[in-house]
């Protein structure tokens, strides 16, 4: 299997002298092509910070991150932006859709930013919309559709550029359980059928149970790792709950 992401001994400090928060404390792991990796941890454990560092939104204090064998901690300026829009796809907890644009345009924007040929855009948007079952809502504005639908639009936008790695931060955080399930099934489809590599941050055991491998973080360190292997999702879920209990149980609290 091809290595897509390699995180090597990264650290991230916030604040200045005298008042330092160690948000990430020496984390290393790798993600291979086609994996669906979950990252779990309590509130404040450093999940978002980790994701932001990988997504180049934030910079590490120490260590290296390789995506597709390229050290992204060394990238700067336009190279960095180009890398971000060509190799990565993002899905956020609060959707981050543009309220003034229709759903179609929200998805298409990811392509126009990459200067994709206008002729190709329509075809590609319709293709992905078909796969995620959102064809009917393409003409609507974000305020006219439900949270689940919004997140599927956001997912389409993230995946339409064929990124090497899709990063999702609490994608189900703002959804009801039915919409969450639907979205996670979409994720499974993206991962299994379309071969997308997904790195998803969550504090919710149910959401995490859709992943193929889970890393648990506590106080900025990796605390445990769990592989689904040949387990069913239900079996995997119980295993997660066991680890969560071990961690202190506070994980299921809403953040």
């Amino acid at each position: 299997m091809e290595k897509i992401l390699e995180v090597k001994q990264i650290e991230k400090y916030y604040g200045n002298k005298g008042n330092i928060t160690k948000a990430i404390d020496n984390i290393s792991f790798t993600v291979e092509s086609g994996e669906f990796v979950g990252i779990m941890g309590a509130s404040g454990s450093g999940k978002t910070t980790l994701l932001n560092c990988i997504s180049t939104i934030d910079r590490v204090t120490a260590g290296n991150i390789y995506i597709n064998n390229q050290d992204i901690t060394k990238l700067k300026g336009n190279k960095l932006n180009q890398f971000r829009r060509e190799e990565l796809g993002f899905i956020f907890q609060d959707f981050n859709l543009l309220d003034t644009l229709t759903c179609y345009e929200n998805i298409a924007l990811a392509l126009t930013i990459q200067k994709v040929n206008p002729k190709e855009i329509k075809k590609r948007v319709e293709e992905i919309a078909d796969k995620l079952g959102i064809k009917e809502i393409l003409k609507k504005y974000p305020y006219q559709i439900s949270g689940g639908q919004k997140q599927r639009i956001a997912s389409s936008r993230a995946i339409i550029t064929n990124p090497k790695l899709v990063l999702a931060d609490e994608p189900t955080g703002a959804l009801d359980s039915k919409s969450a399930r639907q979205l996670l099934e979409n994720f499974e489809y993206l991962n299994k059928t379309l071969g997308a590599t997904i790195l998803m941050v969550t504090h919710d055991a149910f959401t995490a149970s859709y992943a193929s491998r889970i890393l648990f973080i506590k106080d900025g360190k990796i605390f445990n790792e769990l592989k689904r292997g040949s387990n069913t999702r239900k079996e995997f879920f119980s295993k997660i709950i066991e680890v969560v209990t071990l961690l202190g149980g506070e994980l299921n609290d809403v953040i």
């Binding site: 971000r84 309220d99 345009e105 298409a108 126009t112 930013i113 206008p118 002729k119």
Partner: protein, 692 residues
């Protein structure tokens, strides 16, 4: 002093919002001071008494205009203030949540207004005082005054006036603020920002229909303006303006929907970079600001028309002066008056006047203490004749129907002036007129007042002949000769017939003319004689017309002074109004744009997250704001093409307008002020969307 600190702090924190507000206040104060400090400019300039009188008049007029301006500025400031207050509702909500009372919040707000007021007044006045030094250069140029003994000018009156007017405005703002805070409810304040405004979507088809309708209305307004408005009948102007306003509103109401529809069909443009986003941004912005957009457009239109008309009046007044004042003075006097004869407007001539009419101009002047032989190097007498058989109606016979319809107000029964050929030729060199020769049945019409000249030409071409004492005369040329025989500020000769000498009986003499040049080679010598003539008029008080028993004198100096004064007055009023309108429209636009900066900040953050780089984002922001500024300006420019046309029709009495120069100056002003606000908005927005 806790409140003071808090007020100061929150002012500093809200600096980005305050920049435009502050800029507007400072500009307002400075301009108000400058245009009210005109009187003090006089002190350092040496100029003639008549110029001083004109300048006094101008100062008074500017003072009157200032009252109007203070209302405009007052509204603008209140409007801008309300904008800022609205933006800060959440902040106040937070204060209240933390247990601060409404009274305390009002107090902070009051102090803030006071601080901003004091700062803006201070800075505005300093700028105003320095800028008024520059202004004095313009003033001295316009009045052709000697400014060799320059001194730093400071007008205490203007200072006090500015302080008082703006104190009143700020007081109003304070009262409004206190009133507004007293009505605040905590729940509204907390949720103020969260009320997610639903985007109003208009049906594209309706947009297209309304857009076409608006174009139709604007088109008919333009058509009305350029075809129906004449100098004699300017009433259609109100209809044209009314239609124009409605058309403008509908235009902005439907523009974005229409534009979006059109550009969406051009995929290459629409789906390029962030264009989709930019267009949607503009679309939602225009949709929520239709009314303001219309107001801004109308203000810009007014600015352009006022500016360019003022500039072109100034231009024509000053450039034509030289051509139309080739000699030092022209006198004229009624002769052949019978007692009891009707005066031109009201009343009848008295016996005394009838007697006086028998005295020649030269004799009258001699009696009044002017030595005609000593004081004048040249003095030529000519006469204007009239006859009952040649009235205006006879001149326009071939086009009588048209004249009666379009110029119903004109008195067609007045007698046409006639000159003898030999007398015309005698003074032709003085005025730079072309000498004429006539066969004994020919006539020529001289005229240089454009609108009437066109009518006369039309009549000549349609076969005009005239009859005097039973003899028929035919035109030598089928168009009027450009000529005149009395000095004036602009072409004013409305038409005089030149006929062979023997055509006219002596009893037809109506007006005597005396054309003179003063004796002397230096300006000082000439000024002495000018003063003698000016003294004649003092008895009746008229500035450039002396009446010694119906004797009138037009001197080059008095015409110059009056024209220069009028030109200066018009220019300064135009500048004053134009700049204030320009600032108002720019400020409203800037505030509208910045008011959404927090929403925009979120949107641009999203763009950044999905991979748009800074270059793309800045380009998008520039386009968004640029187009937002260009749209009302573009429509205003189109309006102005027709507006200026109408202005030049109405202002035709000032002679041919030199539009190119005035439009260039106008464009310069707009680029400067509008452009400055645009840049301030762009950099302000850029700073806002950048901050983490």
């Amino acid at each position: 002093m806790m409140s003071f600190k808090l007020a100061f702090k929150s002012m500093k924190k809200n600096m980005k919002d305050y920049v435009i507000y502050f800029l507007t206040l400072v500009l307002g104060v400075a301009i108000f001071y400058i245009f009210n400090s005109m009187d003090s400019q006089q002190a350092m300039m040496k100029m003639s008494e008549s110029k001083q009188q004109i300048m006094d008049l101008m100062t008074q007029v500017l003072g009157g205009v200032s009252v109007f301006i203070s209302f405009v500025l007052g509204f603008l400031i209140v409007y801008a203030n309300n904008f800022l207050i609205k933006r800060r509702k959440k902040e106040f909500g937070l204060y209240m949540l933390l247990g601060m009372g409404k009274g305390k919040i009002s107090k902070i707000l009051l102090l803030e207004t006071l601080l901003v007021g004091i700062f803006s007044l201070a800075i505005g006045l300093v700028i105003g005082i320095f800028a008024s030094q520059l202004m004095s250069i313009l003033v001295s140029k316009m009045f052709e005054a000697d400014m060799s003994n320059y001194q730093f000018i400071f007008s205490q009156d203007a200072l006090i006036k500015t302080l008082v007017y703006f104190a009143i405005i700020y007081l109003c703002v304070m009262v409004i603020n206190v009133f507004a805070t007293s009505k605040y409810k905590l729940i509204d304040l907390i949720t103020a920002k969260n009320k997610n405004e639903k985007i109003k979507i208009k049906s594209p088809i309706i947009s297209v229909i309304i857009f076409i309708l608006s174009i139709g209305i604007l088109g008919s307004a333009y058509y009305l303006a350029i075809t129906k408005i004449t100098q004699a009948d300017i009433l259609p102007i109100f209809l044209a303006i009314g239609l124009g306003c409605i058309g403008t509103f509908l235009f902005f109401y439907s523009l974005s929907g229409f534009m979006l529809k059109i550009i969406q069909t051009r995929k290459k443009i629409y789906q390029k970079d962030l264009n989709m986003f930019v267009l949607r941004q503009i679309d939602s912005k225009i949709n929520t600001t239709v009314f303001s957009m219309s107001v801004i457009c109308v203000l810009l239109f007014l600015t352009i028309c006022i500016f360019s008309s003022a500039m072109s009046i100034n231009n024509t007044l000053t450039t034509q002066l030289k051509t139309y004042t080739p000699i030092d003075a022209t006198f004229n006097k009624r002769v052949n008056i019978a007692e009891g004869e009707k005066k031109p407007y009201t009343g009848t001539y008295s016996k005394q006047e009838a007697e006086n009419a028998k005295i020649s101009i030269k004799d009258s002047l001699q009696q009044a203490g002017i030595d005609v032989n000593q004081d004048f190097s040249e003095a030529i007498t000519t006469y204007v004749y009239t006859t009952d058989t040649l009235k205006q109606i006879d001149s326009f016979k071939p086009i009588e129907a048209k004249i009666k319809k379009d110029y119903s107000a004109v008195d067609l029964t007045s007698k046409e002036p006639i000159m003898k050929l030999s007398e015309y030729n005698k003074i032709a060199p003085l005025y730079g007129n072309e000498p004429l020769t006539l066969k004994d049945n020919e006539f020529v019409v001289i005229c240089n007042y454009d609108e009437i000249k066109n009518l006369r030409n039309e009549a000549l071409q349609k076969g005009l002949t005239i009859e005097i004492n039973g003899k028929t005369y035919v035109p030598k040329k089928l168009e009027c000769q450009n000529a005149f025989y009395s000095i004036s500020a602009q072409p004013m000769e409305a038409g005089t017939y030149i006929l062979p000498d023997d055509a006219l009986p002596e009893e037809g003499k109506t007006l005597e003319y005396l054309h003179v040049n003063y004796q002397g080679t230096t300006p000082q010598e000439k000024a002495k004689i000018e003063q003698k003539i000016a003294n004649l008029s003092d008895r009746n008080g008229a500035a450039n017309e002396i009446t010694l028993s119906n004797l009138s004198a037009y001197t080059r100096t008095s015409i110059y002074d009056a024209s220069k004064g009028l030109a200066a007055t018009v220019t300064f009023i135009g500048l004053y109004l134009g700049i204030v309108f320009l600032i108002s429209s720019s400020a409203i636009l800037a505030l509208k744009e910045l008011s959404e900066s927090s929403d925009n900040k979120e949107r641009y953050k999203i763009l950044r997250k999905i991979g748009a780089d800074e270059k793309m984002i800045n380009k998008a922001l520039f386009k968004q704001i640029g187009i937002f500024y260009l749209i009302p300006l573009s429509l205003a420019v189109v309006h102005s093409i027709f507006g200026i046309k109408v202005c030049s029709i109405i202002l035709a009495m000032f002679g041919k307008q030199d539009l190119v120069t005035s439009i260039a100056i106008t464009a310069g002003f707009i680029v400067l002020i509008y452009g400055a606000y645009f840049l301030a908005t762009y950099y302000g927005s850029k700073a806002i969307i950048k901050e983490e």
